[in-house]
Point group: C2
Amino acid sequence: FNIVVLPGDGIGPEVAAAGVSALKAIGEVYGHTFNFEEKLIGGIAIDERNDPYPADTDAACLAADAVLLGAVGGPKWDLQPKRPEQGLLAVRKSMGLFANLRPMDVPASQAFRSPLKEEIVSGADMLIVRELTGGLYFGKQTRTDDRAVDECVYTVEEIERVARVAFEAARKRRNKVTSVDKANVIETSRLWRETVIKLHKAEYSDVELEHALVDSMAMHLVTRPKSFDVIVTENMFGDILSDLASVLPGSIGLLGSASLGSGKGLYEPIHGSAPDIAGKDLANPIGTLKSVAMMLRFSLNLSAEADALDAAIEAVIKAGQLTRDLGGTLAGSEVTKAIVAQIHA
Amino acid sequence: FNIVVLPGDGIGPEVAAAGVSALKAIGEVYGHTFNFEEKLIGGIAIDERNDPYPADTDAACLAADAVLLGAVGGPKWDLQPKRPEQGLLAVRKSMGLFANLRPMDVPASQAFRSPLKEEIVSGADMLIVRELTGGLYFGKQTRTDDRAVDECVYTVEEIERVARVAFEAARKRRNKVTSVDKANVIETSRLWRETVIKLHKAEYSDVELEHALVDSMAMHLVTRPKSFDVIVTENMFGDILSDLASVLPGSIGLLGSASLGSGKGLYEPIHGSAPDIAGKDLANPIGTLKSVAMMLRFSLNLSAEADALDAAIEAVIKAGQLTRDLGGTLAGSEVTKAIVAQIHA
Ligand SMILES: CC(C)[C@H](C(=O)O)[C@@H](O)C(=O)O
Ligand SMILES: CC(C)[C@H](C(=O)O)[C@@H](O)C(=O)O
């Protein structure tokens, strides 16, 4: 398997290295060979190539079996015309990664970490499916001295393909989809809702479907997170709601994500580049390792291996071998070592 | 004082009546005369006039000293081409109500009601200032069979005037403004940030200013709500974040809002029309009464009267004279009566 690794900025390189270690361990135990190719993206790519997404990075990503990303961005590049985030948007667009999958769960044993009261959040288990290559993120942008315009565009095809991902995922989970929009105000949301309703009727009427307005949904995620199974929404709403949901487990260091298209996928932890702790071996590797488990499952078709990695992560959390964000004392690399040891066990 | 009352739909008429009772009581005690004129808006206006915002409603609102709104909307009108919400958007636009003020606080004594852990939320006290007449809400909308487009537009002038409201409010509070945007992705947000920075430098450098991305802000509101004083943001982000913040006190029945322009203001509780409990005298009137207190303060320049109403509300909450959403047993009208009695006391 050819894996492209995009370490990126801040703690990106540390957590990406953790991902590589885990894949190597999986390879040793299960007899697979992973070839790793490291490429530049984000701030470091701006520094070294004056381009947040160089052509050779793009070529490598398009040719790879899967891509592992660390994180991009940092205050260093905030005031520049070229921004690290452009690299992230570019790889999503180029690889056609239209569906961002963000699982979030709060096992009863971990609910004490949540900012929410335990009885509200304990047992919550959802999958947010965010549309990733449309909407305000990729619409035409215009700017004069005193006026700016962003276009938010959606087509039926774009909505259908991501809704399909949500319905399919729901069938493998608790069979319920909550589609989120702002259909009482904007036109793209009305098209969104109509399209989801039609697709549901035509192909997925066995799945329970409900609709929620984005403002109400922000409330529901805090007041009754257990009511949701699969949530599907457009790009900007998905950005906001998935980040909101990500704090419910009490550390954003625990969550991974998969960005999928019709071809290969890109996998990254949901946290950012955390420049304040970069280089100190403090970063929690678990979000990245969760992403690697998704890579094994979705891109490499290795579900037993994915289960093994997930189980190794679980075991290490249960054993209390934790980084500081979880109240532990271990370095990030020590947590990775513990998980690698579990894989070998 | 001429007050236009727009009861609207669902529980709107009940809570609007509570607002009228409180104003009458204030009038009696402090020697003011309030003239009330009731007008149609929303679903009921569609039913009776086939127009969610009839011309005579508009004329009355424009002539009034202040407008009190109940709530609009309901499932009855969901599938119609004319929607109740259009009435709300129309009155905002026509009256030029560009700044929506939503105070939210969680007194230590009430923190037990919050979905958040008490230590995280106790003492939180913020004011969200939402831009209300720009952005995706009022941009050009286009639609073909398989494609929809919404335009998000902002001008420097639109950003400046609402940012000014936020800075002025901060000076009367804890002197801090958090401006929320998505400047790493969209053009209107970059204009937003630049404009806020320039205005701050030119006129408000005594106020502490910080910037947050909307996705991070959704996280912060749940993980560290006490860090914020005044939050200012564009229309759609403000819709989402203010609703998110509104669940922190444990009941959305407690919060009011003011929508201000260069002229008069419109005041409404932040909750919706709650058709499920409409007509049962269960609705909590406090959100509306808080809105009336803001009306007294901002539109009628009666701060002593506003303080008296706020104090009466406080006293009744402390005395445990509560509706069901707060764990009490009283009818909405009984709570109103208790507050009116306090005003007279
Ligand atoms: C860095 C930024 C462009 C990105 C986004 O908004 O999509 C990030 O917030 C994310 O969610 O992956
Ligand atoms: C009803 C709807 C149009 C409205 C909005 O989105 O502005 C409401 O959610 C609000 O926040 O006042």
